[in-house]
Every structure is written in structure tokens, then in C-alpha cells.
Subunit: 162 residues, 2 copies
């Protein structure tokens, strides 16, 4: 991750409190993964170091975590893209929050358990309430999974439950 | 779930110890979800009740858990299908264990947090080392997600790391 990315704000840190409880990326979920997603130039990046129990078989990360990271990296990337498309900074009003409509994961190689996992996203479409993100997940610089997320703006009815 | 399904053995209970640590479905992972997958006639079924912290926004289940359940239900279903294709009971030698090559999830409706979630699988292909499973995930009888898993026999090199 470049210094630029490390210095830019994580979109999850500006989610309104009532939509900041996601197990994967909510800053208010103390049990969760607390994924953070930032711009790095025209790509988005999130880094997560799995816990020892996140095993598939000993030595490898289970697929559900890989899918979870790509899912939340996708919705975080979609929010960043939504703000950029509106030429606004993340955190300005009104807030943008996305949910996943479709997730596809190709498990390219076994994911070693130990090193930080870096998700990178490329925004391939921003159209109305829909954002499409193509992603890679890498360990030690080697791509272990490829993902694609179709994200849509969170329905008002969902957010108002929060 | 029918009484038949409840009475049939879960495939995860006969995985060899060295491949029974998966966070999603390993009986030896004390922190994990411990998903159990059984036959119910020609369908496979797994049931899991999310923990309170598995939120997306309050009141709903986060997508990563939905993906995790469909992923592990897929590999468990693949193992059951592999044994059946060889006209063997789960747990007979040699053991069959699968990993996911591709996972697709369509999030059909928001998943309520509270009721048990039931994953059901239909085996659509068993060919060599590959099994394809089409899945639904339901809450209170309503389908909230559809999934498709392409599973392949676990490479010997992975299992021997265990």
C-alpha cells in the first residue's frame, strides 16, 4: 500500500453510526473484522490480517473469510466511487452506503494463513444507484483470489431500521 | 428440515481430524461456525443460527456470513455427492474432502438476523474431481440468497500440510 493510501481516510470511518455495525467492516462492531477501505490513486485498497482461527485446513485461510473481505471491500469501494462520482468528499452529506447484490469469487490459489491480505479494487461501472467493482486479493504480493461485486445503494427501508 | 435429514450423519463429522479445522464447518474449530451438512433425500441441507454480532446493519445478517454458509455448504454437499457417486457411505476410506474453486452469491433479499438460516443444495454435476452445487439460503421459509459453488477435490499437497 502506498503512503498516499495509508494517509487517505477510510470510508468506513465516515459511515453514519446507524450503518456502522457490519461484522465485516463496521467500526462499531467490536467482534468484527473492522475492514478499512481507502483510495490508492484510482484503485481502492483494504488490508486485513486473519486471526489464527480463520483456518480452512491448518496453514490456510478459509474461503468464507476471503469472500467476506471481497464483499466488504466491494461495498466500501462502491461508497468511495459514489462520492467521487458526485465530486464530493467521503463523509459529506448525504451519506452513501451500499449493499451487495451479487458477489463472485474465484479462488485462484490456496490463501496462506499468516501474512496480511490486501484487497484491491477497480471501479468498472458507476451508473445510477449501482457500482461494479473488480477485485483481487493478494498475500505476499501473490494473487490468491479474484472477485467481482455488484453493489447497490442501500434501500432507505433498511437504513431506517438501524 | 425433515426428520430424515436430522437423523442422517453430517459429512463434517466424518472428515479426518487433519482436515476438520475449517472456521466455517470444522468440528475441531472451537471459534468457528461448525456448520453441519446432511442429505435430505436428493437435496443437501445445513442450518445455522447467526450470532448477534453477525450484523450488516442492525436487524440484518452481513453478506460475508451468507457467503461463508453457502461456501461451506457447497464443499460439504460436494463431499456427500462424491461419496454417493462412488456408492460409499461418508466416512469410508478413502476420505473425500473438497475446496471451492468458484463461489457466486445473489443476495435476493435482506437476511433477517434472528431465525435459523437453512442452506439447501442441489447437485447439478459430479464429474471427475469436480462437483457443482446450486444452493438457496432461506430464513423463515423465504429465500434470501441463491448460490452456486464449483468444488474440486482438495489437492493432496494441501491435505498433507494439515
Amino acid at each position: 500500500m502506498s503512503e498516499h493510501a495509508a494517509g487517505s481516510p477510510a470510508v468506513q470511518d465516515v459511515y453514519p453510526d446507524d450503518v456502522a455495525h457490519c461484522y465485516g467492516c463496521g467500526r462499531l462492531n467490536e467482534h468484527g473484522l473492522q475492514l478499512k477501505t481507502r483510495w490508492d490513486g484510482d484503485e481502492t485498497v483494504s488490508v486485513y490480517t486473519p486471526r489464527p482461527e480463520h483456518t480452512a485446513i491448518p496453514g490456510y485461510v478459509y474461503g468464507g473469510l476471503v469472500a467476506s473481505l471481497l464483499d466488504c471491500h466491494g461495498t466500501g469501494s462502491a461508497a468511495l466511487a459514489g462520492y467521487r462520482a458526485e465530486e464530493r468528499e467521503p463523509g459529506t452529506e448525504p451519506p452513501l452506503r451500499y449493499v451487495t447484490a451479487n458477489l463472485t469469487v474465484d479462488f485462484v490459489a490456496p490463501t496462506p494463513l499468516g501474512p496480511p491480505l490486501e484487497a484491491r479494487g477497480t471501479i468498472v461501472e458507476v451508473k445510477g444507484k449501482k457500482v461494479v467493482v473488480e477485485e483481487t486479493l493478494s498475500a505476499d504480493g501473490v494473487v490468491v483470489a479474484r472477485g467481482r461485486v455488484v453493489a447497490v445503494r442501500m434501500p432507505e427501508a433498511m437504513a431506517s431500521q438501524g
